[in-house]
Amino acid sequence: MDLTVFAEEVGATGPVTITGLGTRGGPVAGVRVVRPPAGIEWIQPDEMTMRCGAGTPVDELDAALLEHGQCVALPPGGTVGGALSVGHSGIRRLGYGPVRDVLLQACYVSDTGQLVTAGGPTVKNVSGFDLCRLLVGARGTLGFLGDVIIRTRPRPQRSQWFTIDVTDPFPVFTELYRPVSVLWNGTQLWALLEGHPDDVAAQAASCSLDECDGPPELPTGSRRVVPPAMVASQTGRFVAEVGVGVIHHAEPLSAADPCESSVTKLAQRIKAEFDPEGRLNPGVNLA
């Protein structure tokens, strides 16, 4: 994908912010806005990889991949660039893995308006430092994603949600073999099982799970991230991702714990190296 026009828009001077569809927070207010290119460049089903502009809607990707019996482990909605830059996984993370593992190669525009390639086009690649992992979740503070190569995965033969009333989620969680998602709200558990229809049925039967229409509605007060062992000790109205430790809570989050000073200093050094003038998404602070 020719990214030169996008790179010129980002330019080399002055504050600039990036946005896609605005579903994950949108641009920084009061700052010149750029939008990354959109569109699918190619899909290679037998490589399980695809390349697209960062501005491509995730739903468009899913629709295109459906034709090939594949999907991508990005949460639905918004753009690919937004999903990667925010880095929050969806409720299938337990089975599909985190968003950060989806990105194979990124062409991004640096603070100086230059095009940089990070990573490589193949799933397996240890050539050099892993800048792609650093870019996922960096909220556009280190560079603006232009286009990306991401990995896809096969769609399962059968995919079905089940439920059961339990006050302890762990017996069911440990019994199931690689469930795609296990959610729990303190009294009821939902499990997404995928694979061969007979295996799905046998797994559900082994835990006395009942078929249901889908996952529960997730509370939107806050999305908290805790060690997975702390899932059992949640209070209030919540839906927890068992085995992952993401808690969708009805209440807003109280102040986060302060970071270790060595980590804060390291994050500040990273920002200072990649964007010394602080022109990319100014005001967004991850350090």
């Binding site: 490589g120 193949t122 397996k124 892993d130």
Partner: protein, 473 residues
């Protein structure tokens, strides 16, 4: 070696864990690559504080230091240059805690890969990355190199299995990167550290994700009349929507060497053999086995051998994992490459590899992670033969070039280290490399952590003083 520095190390650790004897220095002057450097002093820390002390002393004296686990790295990443301080983590080898319910464990970096899987086997769990050296390689080394292995096709490489790290940064500060939380706030410093080849600090504790052992596993061996047919089978399996647990290929020369070594009844007349493992729940596994056999047959598979029990399965895997040991029967030396190409280009690139090797009058054995497109062409030779190293290096360089030209990458799992350092410009522009250097500088403000690896420097182009014997230039 600076006597004051050695005395300070001895006082901080204990004199018996700081070695400057000729035997130790010789032992630690290289890793499992063909490159030999020179170590100035070898330290054996047993705690995070020990590692911190070593790094602080190194910092005070401006002394470069190199972290080393089991030394099984194949790219010279742990080969010390210019009398560097070796910080060897093999004595930090405790499994600190295991949470079998949430499937994670905290381990020290010196724990051996296979020992971790053995330690958690009683919970029905294992550590998924399984390099062929898994009996002897350490978790710290796996982190440094973002190691792979046959089963990474379905389960991903090391970075997908590392949740958190305690590291000592090159300035001596201790930092906790990532953690048990799925998505810690801030930058993914954990992800940036994994695969940084000892140039961003030293990991002193690692929180790993453990994987459920599959209830059903089927391993099969198919043989083919041509390497092309085997390679096309691999692409067809993936295109059919299956991700086998492993898809490994060996060519005839390799199969013969392995068969003489382990006597597994491998088909030595076949041009290529494909080892396929399917794992998961029983119905899915059986359905996949049938589809894979059908695909193989449609692509000309001569015979299909399905391991009838665990003993036969292990025998088939023994052949694959001991391939590198078996080659010693053909020639005393080997040079191993690790490029990755898009799967669909496997037949074409393999054909070019054979042509290159023939043109240079060398022998090549191919044993590789076909499912990942991860080639491991082994150039086998006898280094006593005059002029052979020039041919080996020339052929190797051509193999790397054709792989990258086919849309591939320099290394799939061994890393860049010293050996592939000067090939980085084949894949990355100066601007791309500068971005990687920014990452490196953020972590290492001192420039003392394993310097002159991975990133080609201006100095490395004209001034070769850092490149030890055996290096590619």
């Amino acid at each position: 070696m600076n006597e004051v520095l050695v005395a300070e190390l001895g006082a901080a650790l204990s004199p018996d864990r700081v070695r400057i004897g000729g035997t130790e220095l010789a032992l630690y002057q290289r890793d499992a690559s063909n490159l030999t450097g020179s170590a100035g002093v070898v330290c054996f820390p047993t705690s995070t504080e020990d590692v911190q002390a070593c790094i602080r002393i190194a910092g005070r004296h401006g002394q470069p230091f190199v972290a080393r686990g089991a030394g099984t790295g194949l790219a010279g990443g742990a080969t010390p240059l210019d009398d560097a301080m070796m910080i060897v983590t093999t004595k930090m080898n405790r499994v600190l805690s295991v949470d079998p319910v949430n499937r994670l464990a905290w381990v020290e970096p010196g724990v051996l890969n296979l020992d971790l899987s053995k330690a958690v086997a009683k919970y029905g769990l294992h550590f998924a990355p399984d390099p062929s050296s898994q009996q002897s390689c350490s978790i710290g080394g796996n982190v440094a190199n973002n190691s792979g292995g046959p089963h990474c096709l379905s389960d991903g490489v090391t970075t997908a299995h590392v949740l958190g790290l305690e590291v000592v940064l090159p300035d001596g500060e201790i930092a906790h990167l990532g953690g048990e939380e799925a998505e810690p706030s801030g930058y993914d410093l954990r992800g940036a550290f994994v695969g940084s080849e000892g140039m961003c600090g030293i990991a002193t504790k690692v929180c790993v994700r453990l994987t459920q052992n599959p209830p059903a596993v089927r391993t099969m061996l198919m043989d083919f009349g041509s390497v092309d047919d085997g390679a096309r089978t691999v692409s067809a399996i993936i295109a059919a929507g299956m991700v086998p647990a492993a898809l490994e290929m060996m060519d005839q020369l390799c199969t013969r060497a392995v068969e003489e070594f382990i006597h597994a009844g491998l088909p030595v007349d076949a041009a290529a053999i494909l080892l396929v493992e399917v794992a998961g729940l029983p119905h899915g596994v059986e359905a996949d086995v049938q589809r894979i056999v059908d695909i193989g047959t449609a692509h000309g598979a001569g015979s299909v051998r399905i391991a009838k029990d665990e003993a036969e399965r292990l025998l088939l895997w023994k052949g694959r994992k001991n391939a590198f040991g078996a080659i010693a029967r053909i020639k005393p030396n080997y040079y191993l490459h690790d490029t990755v190409v898009p799967r669909r280009h496997l037949p074409d690139v393999l054909r070019q590899v054979y042509e290159i090797v023939e043109r240079h009058d060398l022998l090549v054995m191919n044993v590789f992670h076909a499912g990942d497109g991860n080639l491991h062409p082994l150039l086998v030779f006898d280094k006593r033969e005059p002029g052979i190293m020039d041919r080996v290096h020339a052929a190797g360089e051509e193999i790397v070039r054709v792989s990258v030209a086919a849309g591939g990458v320099l290394s799939g799992e061994h890393g860049i280290g010293l050996e592939k350092r000067d090939f980085m410009p084949l894949m990355f522009s100066p601007i791309d490399l500068e971005a990687q250097a920014r990452l490196r500088r953020s972590f290492d403000t001192t420039g003392l952590a394993n310097p002159n690896k991975v990133l080609p420097t201006a100095a490395s182009c004209g001034d070769m003083q850092h490149v030890p014997e055996g290096a590619w230039i």
